[in-house]
Subunit: 223 residues, 2 copies
């Protein structure tokens, strides 16, 4: 089947989930899986899965199902996780530090090449094998290492100024943990926002709702 | 307009975003806003917004727009963020600690009442005003404080056992940062998953895609 030119963002957002499920299956010794079994595990319909994967040319064979490793690798390569996009973390409070230490950037398309902060308590210290640099070194650093992506784990109030500087240095994409609306101010940058409090509010609604009547059937459909 | 009995999870997931935008508008001195202006800021169509809000009985007035504070408060109360659901954090590595210290649980429907870990390095220490307890105290603690919700910020490998114990103690909802599929094993619990690496892979795809051709028009539509 031919690949589609344009793939909707909602399909794209499901790809990492396919990747994660397939990776877990592989770790658990599965080498092939029927579309029915995959759909049961993922809580999607088999037709939804076929439709999603067809956007990228289609996978699987009638009567055989999917080869788990092959499908995982194909999705990984569609996602581009074999790339090594240089990325910097700006702000090493608890969340920035958690990402620096625990997030396996290499496995997801990135290479952590710099960590920045303003606090004398951390500047000069080593985290995840890198020396934390003062944010005022960012211009010099970008001149040499040209990171195109930055993780924003700074207070929201500091974000407008920092983003302006980063964009000025050639950064073109952000993994944004602040509540600053980067995409609104910079139309040509790519932004993925992480709004943990949105998630917490959704949880609150669903708990309240579960208290009042039985949970809706699709409640866990975005696991 | 009458409230609908059943509200789809995708509408529910947009509510926190409305809440956040309206809260920001209020902080920036807006007291009313037209549906056109709200839709421009949120990157949704005016008709989508009307449709979403109509699920809960409708707000706003023809020719006047929305009263920002009133709409924010109504959405907040639909979400239930005025509740004080008792919640515990299990695991205070960097992410658990970041949530304990920085997340304003009170503002989003919860009250943090306990923090648990296994490491002698943190058990007995105070974080966010609470003494970190050993996980083996969880049964006793739940007998007294009856938290119904737990934040899982533990290694994925430890999750199945911990979840089993928590469910045994009456915990019925999870804010899950691990890759353990809680909802698959426990059908009657409410689970909100935070898969940060899914988000990172989506970012990777979009950067790769932006390199190859102009970014798709809807790229930032879930900001």
């Amino acid at each position: 089947m031919a690949k589609r030119e344009y793939v909707s963002i909602s399909v794209v957002r499901r790809l990492p989930r396919y990747y994660r499920f397939l990776n877990d299956l592989l770790k658990n010794g599965f080498s092939r899986i029927s579309s029915r079994e995959l759909s049961a595990r993922m809580g999607l319909t088999a037709s939804q899965i076929r439709q999603d994967l067809n956007c990228f040319g289609g996978f699987g064979q009638q009567g055989y199902g999917y080869n788990v490793e092959q499908l995982r690798d194909s999705i990984g390569s569609i996602l581009g996780i074999d790339r090594k996009f240089p990325i910097v973390i700006v702000g090493v409070g608890n969340i920035g530090r958690a990402l620096a230490v625990n997030m396996n950037f290499d496995a997801f398309g990135f290479q952590l090449c710099g960590i920045f902060d303003v606090s004398p308590a951390v500047v000069g210290k080593r985290i995840a094998g890198l020396e934390v640099l003062h944010i005022d070194e960012i211009e010099r650093f970008c001149g040499v290492s040209s990171p195109k992506t930055a993780v924003l784990t700074i207070p929201t109030a500091a974000a407008p100024d920092i983003v302006r500087r980063l964009v000025g240095c050639g950064v073109r994409s952000f993994w944004n943990y602040t509540h600053y609306d980067v995409a609104r101010s910079y139309k040509d940058v790519v932004v993925e926002n992480v709004h943990l409090s949105d998630n917490l509010m959704t949880l609150c609604y669903r708990i309240k709702y579960a208290d009042e009547k039985p949970p809706e059937p699709t409640a866990n459909d975005e696991a």
